[in-house]
Amino acid sequence: MAEKLLEIKNLNTSFRIRDDYYAAVDDVSLTVNKNEVLAIVGESGCGKSALAFSIMGLHNRTKMEGEILFKGENIVNISPSKLNKLRGKSMGMIFQDPLTALNPLMIIGDQIGEALLLHNKELSKTKRKEKVIDLLNKVGIPRAEHVYEQFPHELSGGMRQRVVIATAIANEPELLIADEPTTALDVTIQSQILDLIKDLKEDMNSGVVLITHDLGVVAEMADRVAVMYAGQLVEIADVHTLFEEPLHPYTKSLFNSVPNANEEQEKLHVIQGIVPSLQNLPRTGCRFAARIPWIDASQHEEHPELHEVKPGHFVRCSCYKHFHFPEESKEEQHHGIS
């Protein structure tokens, strides 16, 4: 039986805009098990990163409600000093842009060494250097001794991202949060970095939260997938179910809008409209309704909830039962990849 590592219960994260609070993460409940990759998918503005930042406690001036249980202990609104003991030690984060995540004035060795030092004050200088070079080797950086003395600008994008990963895993975290870790990288390097994250996960038996908008990356990496739209989870399923039998209209629309390298399509599906901004989010009814206007209003629930349609497969709102794409008849709808 899978062991729960992280459990999020009814999490709300609200940002203050002028005098009001708007929830960017709206009533999200999730679990991440040990040795599992949970992918969170959605367009920009759907709240994926806001959720990741909430877990890491990186937001300031936000209102957070609900619970985030990390190994059974609630870490919402705990004191900064307690949080600092967790961050970088039990929880590591890989950021999207390796250039801005690194300090340009510090050599690579010191940046990774800092992560070690913060959580282990006794570590001697020589021991620290040894460990950093170990880490650099582990993430596949050639000539680690040389790179130790280099500055971030002397490294290529792929190498920088490896340094960011080395920093994140310096203290062998149990939970690794990767926020679009390969978006800034070329495909061949992307596949290397993804393999690296997978191997590290196996080695350390950690849970990984992978945030991405790239469905190819999800198919390659994830064990389970959570699809997010406008701050809410709209579908959760294991990766095979989600790709073979996506149910929520948003999930289906996402699948149809990606140019598929295996399939000839003349036209890609376009999701009408845009992701509503935080202030303009419809707080009642189905949030995706405005983008599928050809579906009759009566098909949506008044207060859409997540329904468990099969064990482990959750879908929000009832509109999925009646959903079809506008150009085609109901019989020929596209069902994921199969």
Binding site: E220, S257, H269, I271
Partner: protein
């Protein structure tokens, strides 16, 4: 006959340094690239960052200085030296940039942004200009009332369409699109790609499509050229490149595309390992002592591969 023909293009950037800023060496961003585009078709330039694909695109439109080589557009030479005489070539070749957030002046209204090329090349009255801009906006699917708005009032996809409206304002024949959808979300990306295909037919456009995203390239392009370190490693139709890659570099690139089917995960992993092993073992056979690709040799009418002399 080629519509656009690039012959042995070289773009070298000097490395300055030392006491008097002397030139110490050169970065060979593009080093001997030849290809040609057919009218009404889409040609894709693919490569990883630093491969010289953007530099090639920018050199064609005149944004980079050309070190050596020739560019012919509809049988006229348009290489930088010859360009002064024929400045209206700029009308026929336009560019769409990667980032719709930084390629539009935030202090200008949409009217001024889209009308700028018109003001440079055509003398229209204010009223005519306004009508033309409104027509263009309608063509790209924006409401004519948008002319008085500023770029920040639009979403990413809408901004990219403003960029496209500006690019097609002078009825160009060739559009160089440098990573036009890389900064956009998948759904918005779909919108822009569909739209680019649509206007291609309507306006009889030829695209030079530069991207590192192979899925997008496959969707858009008829012909593809793969670049590595400033040189071509392989050129062919989309089918040839994706179904029958010959150069190990292309093989590795195609193998690295994430597969959308989670059931094939293990299979893909194994396949990638095989390709990577082959890449490492055969590296010296496919690249010369400097790690550069050899010259292209035809293996069929359309398919060219950079193989060593002995073949």
């Amino acid at each position: 006959m080629g519509f656009l023909k690039v012959e042995d293009l070289k773009v070298h950037f000097p490395i300055k340094g030392g006491l008097f800023g002397r030139t110490l060496g050169h970065v060979k961003a593009v080093d001997g690239v030849s290809f040609s585009l057919d009218k009404g078709k889409t040609y894709g330039l693919v490569g990883e960052s630093g491969s010289g694909k953007s530099t090639t695109g920018r050199a064609i439109i005149g944004l980079n200085h050309i070190t050596d080589g020739k560019i012919f557009f509809e049988d006229n030479e348009i290489t930088a030296t010859a360009r002064k005489a024929k400045s209206d070539i700029r009308k026929d070749i336009q560019m769409i940039f990667q980032d719709p957030y930084s390629s539009l002046n935030p202090k200008k209204r949409v009217l001024d942004i889209v009308a700028e090329p018109l003001r440079n090349f055509e003398s229209l009255s204010r009223k005519e200009e306004r009508i033309r801009v409104q027509e263009l906006l309608e063509l790209v699917g924006l409401s004519p009332e948008s002319i008085l708005k500023y770029p920040h009032e639009f979403s990413g996809g809408q901004r990219q369409r403003i960029g496209i409206a500006r690019a097609v304002a002078l009825k160009p024949k060739l559009i160089i699109a440098d990573e036009p959808v890389s900064a956009l979300d998948v759904s918005v990306q779909a919108q822009v790609l569909n739209f680019m295909k649509e206007i291609q037919g309507e306006l009889d456009l030829t695209y030079l499509f530069i991207s590192h995203d192979l899925g997008v390239i496959k969707h858009m392009c008829d012909h593809i050229g793969i670049m590595y370190k400033g040189r071509f490693v392989e050129e062919g139709t989309a089918k040839e490149i994706f179904n029958d890659p010959q150069h190990i570099y292309t093989k590795r690139l195609v193998a690295a595309i994430p597969d959308i089917d989670p059931r094939k995960r293990e299979e893909m992993k194994q396949f990638r390992q095989e390709v990577n092993t082959e890449y490492e073992q055969a590296y010296n056979d496919y690249f010369n002592e400097e790690g550069l690709a050899y010259s292209l040799k035809p293996i069929s009418d359309t398919h060219l591969v950079a193989l060593p002399e002995k073949g």
